[in-house]
């Protein structure tokens, strides 16, 4: 591992100043992804600014009845938090579908959002990768593509974002609070991550030095909504998603009154399935409507050789999840 300097930030503003002033500086939170990358030589920062001591580890109610989750809240604590389990069970499910106990104990909320792709070529410094080394080429295209994108990819990168948590947050219309050089701003989680386009080296819209201080959840979906997170993977546990679906629907008089659907494992960012949501609005509950909605979203899918299977897998998973939610009775949300 290359050597680097290390400083502990004591205030959020101080942290932002330390990183903003040094092009080679990065934040260190749980370290579960960054420490791996340091060891593998994927990144070579000259300064780590440790943000673990910043007072960002609380979960608290917001004025409008939502929740503000501090950036440093650990994934295991968030998944076990009574308000999350009660009011945002889809988020708890998604958190527990990711990683393993040890990693969830260390990984933070902001760190989970900012974790990087598990594309094997990105992680192998001996192969070209436009995300790791801009302009060097993409080894995944024409390579082993089982875990790669079917939506929104570019000729420069077909990597996917690996987070489960973020997929649920997108479906929940969560926002991130960001502290930067010029003060605070709020960004919907849906807009935090980018599509690769010509600059796959940029995972998010954040600028160097920007610090996520919290994730803000709007008020719970409330009565009449049912939601779930389903992850399809090669093993029953401890694997990244081939496809995952976070979905919530509200049914009235046999029709879908409203829905929220987002997909994981299919794109460079958690994918909000707006076209599927539009197609479902007012539709008669049933497999025909669900398949039409999934089809509307996946019409734009452009798989590469080796991951064509993910298109029908995504379609079937969407239909299956919606069927499950529509068939449920009781108060579960």
């Amino acid at each position: 591992m290359k050597p680097f300097d290390y400083q502990r930030a004591t205030t959020p503003d101080g942290a932002v100043a330390l990183v903003s002033d040094r092009p080679g500086a990065v934040y260190l939170a749980g370290g579960t992804n960054l420490v791996d990358h340091l060891r593998l030589g994927i990144v070579g920062p000259d300064l780590l600014v440790d943000v673990n001591r910043l007072p960002l580890d609380e979960v608290g109610a917001t004025e409008d009845g939502g929740l503000r989750i501090g950036a440093n809240v650990r994934n295991s604590d968030l998944a076990a938090h009574p308000a999350i389990r009660r009011d945002y069970p889809m988020l708890a499910q998604a958190l527990l579908a990711g990683a393993s106990g040890q990693i969830r104990n260390a990984a933070t909320t902001a760190g989970n959002l900012l974790q990087r792709t598990r594309c094997v070529y990105f992680q192998d410094v001996t192969t070209p990768c436009n995300k790791r080394d801009p302009g060097s080429g993409c080894t995944a295209i024409g390579g082993y593509t089982r875990y790669h994108a079917i939506l929104g990819a570019s000729e420069h990168c077909i990597a996917v974002h690996p987070s489960d948590m973020a997929v649920a947050m997108v479906a929940l219309d969560a926002t991130v609070a960001v502290l930067g050089r010029n003060g605070e701003r709020s960004i919907p989680v849906e807009e935090l991550h980018r599509l690769p386009g010509d600059h796959p080296e940029r995972d998010t819209v954040l600028e160097h030095g920007d610090l996520i201080t919290a994730v803000v959840l709007p008020p719970p979906l409330g009565a009449g909504w049912r939601c779930t997170y389903r992850k399809v993977r090669d093993r029953a546990s401890y694997a990244f998603a081939l496809v995952s679906v976070a979905a919530a629907i509200r049914v009235e008089d046999g029709r879908v009154a409203d829905s929220r659907i987002s997909l994981g494992g299919v794109a460079h960012k958690p994918w909000r399935a707006v076209k599927a949501e539009d197609a479902l609005r007012g539709a008669v509950v049933g497999d025909e409507s669900f398949a039409a909605a999934a089809g509307a979203e996946l019409a734009a899918a452009s798989p590469v050789e080796g991951n064509e299977f993910k298109v029908p897998m995504a379609r079937r998973t969407i239909v299956s999840v919606l069927r499950e939610l529509a068939g449920q009775s009781g108060e579960s949300r």
Partner: protein, 163 residues
């Protein structure tokens, strides 16, 4: 910056003993434990945070010590596999692993035991499925999972009987 990269002072409690050390920021916690403190009971398996062999407790919760920098442990308490027996008595989880013969080559065992303790702390009365799920981050290359799961269930039952 020049050639002289800084050292960082850390104060850390390991298995109940307080240490103050100067470490390079890039030193992994597992290397600090093994190479600096001689606590070789915690082993390095995959070195890429996959296998869980290096699991220790940081402030009472399991982490993979190959994915934590030693500087991150500053001000915190680390318990390793070497620190869970008390007064010459095996920890109940160690005893359960011994009695269920929950090992083949034994390399994953320290991590399995540390994760199993964390698992029961979070869920004192787990089902077999809960145990398998809770150990998802620990790989046994001998595939000796059956007796490992049996050991954790035995430890849970023993603890329940003692309550």
């Amino acid at each position: 910056m020049g050639l002289a990269w800084g050292m960082t002072r850390i104060s850390v409690s390991v298995d109940g003993i307080a240490y103050v050390d100067e470490v390079e920021p890039r030193m992994l916690l597992v290397h600090y434990l093994r190479d600096r403190l001689g606590k070789t009971g915690t082993v390095v398996g995959c070195d890429t945070s996959n296998c869980g062999s290096c699991t220790v407790h940081l402030d009472g919760r399991s982490v993979k010590s190959c994915a934590v920098l030693a500087v991150q442990a500053d001000g915190h308490e680390v318990i390793t596999i070497e620190g869970i027996a008390k007064d010459g008595e095996l920890h109940p989880m160690q005893r359960a692993f011994h009695e269920s013969h929950a090992l083949q080559c034994g390399y994953c065992t320290p991590g399995m035991i540390m994760q199993s303790i964390d698992l029961l702390a979070a869920n004192p009365d787990p089902t077999e499925a809960d145990v398998r799920e809770g150990l998802e981050g620990n790989l046994c290359r001998c595939t000796g999972y059956h007796n490992i799961v049996k050991a954790v269930l035995t430890a849970a039952a023993d603890a329940k009987a003692a309550r």
